[in-house]
Symmetry: C2
């Protein structure tokens, strides 16, 4: 076994999920994530945690959903209780085909997503962490050779997370003190309120309310967006290629949407429920270990010199105690490149210009 697989498992278990003896851990395993799963199982055994493995296969879900009549009823108790009782959910992505669900009718997908909301909430109430095992299918999606992709993924994952967390704390301080964020670049001028919201220093650890490995972003839950934004980073959403999405917001909601490619996928998402037309997240990518777009949201949204917004569900961690933010069955991130001819302002002050942060060499206020 590649020693980096064991290192990945150790970062996931110790830094990200903070596993301790006696923790009840659900390990969700993609069909090609077997090797990472074995390494994680070994680490969980060493730490004295309890382990239940689930199988997360797009092909299986596709077969199930396509055969179903679409009337899913309520969340079944057996699945909900599993997550209610669990302390931790570790999700190891890694399929054989990132388009495995491409021919599942969108109504079916939406109905299933809605029917499973209580189960999903129970998962989010655990110390959950999502990561991926670098597979050939992800390498293909990134347009990279397999070994090249492995190097890329481990460079992003096996980082000095404590030191990155310190750097990201600066951005969190700015956002926590601020009231309004403005994004400006060619075709984009969007303002949104972050009044009363708390930013998350997403350092790939539940200690920081951060649930992705790799991570390396600072995010918050904006509201009341006004204006227009273009997402110029190519993505695959629900198996469909999407390019150059343009959203126009009025009174906090999407009123117009278009895309050069994959507009249907965006339409489908926006029509899921009311919350799907509002913002759930503003995230600022700060992981400079990620040096290119690979058409995988887990990596792309963390890349330095990018900003992303999500329509849909807001994370509770960004909200005042007891307050619920935007609710939705979806949470879909879209990314804009901030490396050139762009600026990010907080309360009128430029925090990032042309890819440089205020505290970095080469920043021109």
């Amino acid at each position: 076994m590649d020693e980096r697989v064991r290192e990945h498992a150790a970062v996931l278990v110790d830094w990200s999920a903070q596993i301790e003896a006696g923790d009840d851990v659900v390990l969700s395993i993609g069909p090609d994530a077997h090797d990472l799963a074995v390494a994680v199982a070994e680490a969980l055994g060493e730490r004295g945690a309890n382990l239940l493995s689930t199988y997360a296969s797009g092909e299986l879900t596709r077969a199930y959903l396509r055969a179903h009549d679409g009337d899913f009823g309520e969340d079944p108790a057996f699945e909900r209780k599993l997550y209610e009782e669990a302390d931790v959910v570790l999700s190891l992505g890694g399929g054989r085909n990132t388009s495995a669900m491409a021919d599942v009718p969108s109504e079916t997908r939406q109905a299933y997503r809605k029917a499973r909301s209580a189960t999903r909430e129970a998962r989010y109430d655990t110390r959950w962490v999502s990561t991926v095992h670098p597979t050939r299918s992800l390498a293909q999606q990134a347009g990279m050779a397999y070994e090249e992709y492995q190097d890329f993924a481990y460079d992003a994952i096996l980082r000095d997370w404590e030191s990155l967390a310190e750097e990201m704390a600066k951005m969190k301080d700015v956002l926590d003190a601020g009231s309004e964020v403005r994004l400006v670049k060619d075709g984009t001028d969007l303002t949104m309120s972050i009044e009363g919201r708390t930013a998350v220093n997403s350092a790939a650890s539940v200690r920081y309310d951060s649930h992705n490995l790799p991570s390396g972003e600072v995010f918050t839950a904006p509201h009341a967006p006004e204006g227009t934004v273009i997402f110029d980073v190519p993505m695959t959403i629900n198996g469909e290629a999407v390019r150059d999405v343009r959203l126009e917001f009025e009174d906090g909601e999407v009123v117009t949407h278009e895309a050069e490619q994959g507009e249907d996928a965006i339409t489908e998402i926006l029509e899921t429920d009311d919350g799907a037309r509002r913002l759930g997240e503003l995230g600022i990518g700060m992981n400079r270990g990620i040096d290119r777009f690979t058409d995988s949201i887990l990596f792309d949204e963390k890349m330095g010199d990018t900003v992303h917004l999500a329509v849909g569900r807001a994370y509770d961690a960004c909200l005042p105690e007891g307050e619920t933010g935007n609710e939705s069955a979806v949470h879909v991130d879209m990314i804009t490149d901030m490396s050139e001819e762009s600026r990010l302002e907080v309360d009128g002050e430029v925090i990032q210009r042309n890819g440089r942060f205020r505290w970095e060499d080469g920043f021109e206020g």
Copy 2:
């Protein structure tokens, strides 16, 4: 997909587990059982059942158990409740190496087995069915080519189960009316009581309290065995090859055991707990679709002209209402060939001689 995979899934879902809309189904999937899992997921979707998939990998379990200090504590609630709430557990065996767990210390295996007894009981309280997807690893264990093994497996699985059930009902009637069973062949003379016990017509359906696919045996829960029995069918038990096991019973318990090969594996099993030295099952193989031994208990014990006994746990279905039979953390079957120079008697009357049943042509009482 081989059409037989879909037929297998349909038999499993409709005949074996009697799935109905709204059933909460746990689907346990071996790493190489993916294709069957997809077909089963499709069938479950069609029937409107709920589906949660778990991943059953010997390699994962090995890594976990070898790393663990062996102090497993009690059954964790998250796993136990999953099975307590489930209606059905469908287990699709199919790994890549039948010896995947060979180097897990026996004390660790036993400790884990004991610690998970409440979870196991909860699984047994569902409409559980175990089957296997014919994999290359099972073909290798059987000493067969892959396609040859697929033909073998589907011949055993895709049978006219209703008609076999009718034939097996004759054997059930004999056992239900009887008090004492005697097995006689070279090196074997064993008597055991079946007084007050109910035989199961194991026709591969929960309708018959039968939980294996393929099945094709009639079994009961004997007690008070006296005498000696030789199991001359080669087997692999916990990853170890076992040949010619000889057990001697006095006052209902194993007092001597030996084997030509794999004696340690037998010793380990017998030392699990008190119940592991007593009998849990007497089974009479009646599936003549299985035409050879393949070193897989699921198939071998169902083969026509064989009888098997299990040490360890007895199935509740064979016991009077409210009575608990032999309890143990193990249930290990061992098989003896009854095709030649042998007889099976019930209350002194010969029921099977040299492989022919009383109601068959060629029987010589």
